[in-house]
Symmetry: C2
Subunit: 318 residues, 2 copies
């Protein structure tokens, strides 16, 4: 067996993560950018460590997303935004590409790491999607860590809610920065066995109400993986649901025979904007090819490719 054949049979692992689209460079001090990038690197290290040790892509995306959920700088877990009622309301999903098992939770208030609850739904319940108090009751039965809601309270997010409430009264929501609509974290990974996985976690939109659910926990919209393609999105949720963005990218790869880059580009840059939405995705195929298109000013992202080196970026062209 030639060494080229061995390489083809055992792909080098790849990990790609995002920390949300919609970031605007002028809102970000150099110091904050350093903090954000340090946590992106920590997430890459955690996830890639799993892959390097021969672990599964499912474990890798779980680990990477937990690090981002634990950071105060991203709209997920600890750093989640506030809803209209002044609560942090969290959504997450995970999907295992090789089996297409999936788990999802929405509208939880006390789950420290929603991605771990989504994974427990996938592995320890007969269901795929659990919401609200019921999802938290399930969390208790399986021992997923619950915290006091005050754990999620950061002053910066609280001030953002006040800003959004004032904009609402003044009917100037359109003037709010796009980051108010689509902060999210996510990861996609390919392991040495050639298996793909995807995970996404979010606090949703600042000032959301009425039990609003965005695309992150909707399998096919914000999170999707199969044997050939894995996607995690950070878009304006409503538009990513309507375009079934993640599944559509993978369907184009499967049936339109597009590359993952062309497919992600078509959905993020053409289809979603045609309906009036914006955002970005990370998309990865089973050969290790990946793309990170977004049509907002910035998208926090990071990747470790075949060279084994961590890269992080924020603006276009970085």
């Amino acid at each position: 067996m030639s060494s080229a054949t061995v390489t083809a049979a055992a792909p080098r692992p790849v990990l790609v993560i995002h920390g949300g689209a919609g970031v605007i460079s002028r809102d970000l001090t150099p110091e904050r950018r350093r903090l954000v990038e340090a946590d992106l690197r920590a997430a890459l290290d955690a996830g890639y460590g799993v892959l390097k040790a021969g672990g599964s892509s499912l474990d890798a995306v779980s680990r990477a997303v937990v690090v981002l959920e634990d950071s105060p700088w991203f709209n997920a877990g600890r750093g989640a935004v506030f809803n209209h009622d002044g609560r942090n309301e969290l959504d997450a999903a995970i999907m295992d590409g090789s089996t297409r098992r999936a788990g999802s939770v929405a509208g939880v208030h006390r789950v420290k790491n929603p991605v771990l609850l989504a994974r427990a739904v996938m592995e320890r319940s007969p269901h795929v999607m659990l919401v609200g108090d019921g999802a938290e009751a399930f969390a208790q039965t399986v021992g997923v860590t619950l915290v006091d809601p005050s754990y999620f309270r950061t002053e910066e997010r609280w001030q953002q809610l006040q800003q959004a409430l004032q904009a609402e009264v003044a009917k100037q929501e359109a003037a709010l920065p796009p980051a108010f609509r689509h902060g999210t974290v996510g990861a996609v990974a390919l392991d040495a066995q050639g298996r793909l996985a995807a995970a996404t976690s979010t606090g949703g939109m600042t000032n959301k109400r009425w039990g609003r659910i965005g695309d992150a926990p909707v399998i096919g919209a914000g999170t999707y993986a199969d044997a050939r393609c894995a996607v995690s999105a950070t878009g304006w949720g409503e538009f990513y649901i309507r375009t079934v963005a993640a599944r559509s990218i993978c369907a184009r790869v499967a049936w339109k025979k597009e590359s993952v880059a062309a497919a992600a580009q078509a959905v993020v840059m053409d289809d979603v904007p045609a309906l009036g939405g914006d955002g970005g995705v990370i998309a990865l195929d089973a050969h290790g090819n990946f793309a990170m298109p977004f049509n907002t000013e910035g998208m926090f992202r990071g990747w470790i490719d075949r060279d084994g080196k961590a890269h992080v970026a924020m603006l276009k062209g970085e």
Copy 2:
């Protein structure tokens, strides 16, 4: 202009509905079958009346689904099954193919016609998906009819919950009839302007718990419509979410260039069973071609095609 050209420019409307897969003929008395078929015909009449008068496919699917929600014989609205806590917990979604606007609600307990709330979410909120108490609060702000939860209590569904609870204690859930897993109602329509729409409504699984959400309210899974293809599913929800069944059917039509019949067949008869699931769908394209595949013993369904006549069926080959 030849008359053939005129026909192509102004398609004859088509309406297809379902009242749930998983029905088993031996569980059904002739009298019950007559009652079910009468309500399927009433739903066809209501929806097709809209189309005949030049109304929209969106209005047609809303009207047809309301009739099925108001009937006690289907697992949606009035006839919804009970969850583990002895409550009726309703989900619905609607999607307008020509604009890909969509609305969805999940986990509501007091909304008389969940499909109308889903439509209000689509038309009168900036969101696509609302759940639980928040969705009911939104219902109140837009004047969607709420009822006392006792409205949904039918003796037959209550007895089914008792049966499911006993099966759970005896660890014999697998012996429960498939209808315990996937009662649902839905409609797809093509109007004279060539616009497609889809709607689905359900009470979910008997004895469901933990805020479980199935495929019906998940855009792309149980409900989806675009300019070329509309689908409403009645499957075992978890498997229809994992395969993103409705979007996958329409993606095959768009990009694999399959007929709607071949695409629906591939997902319902091959892809979902490969994962261990079952169920059925109704699928319709913009030329008026439709398919109603299912891999359970029966699926309540009805259609009015170009001949303008109502047809209803339950078993295979009918």
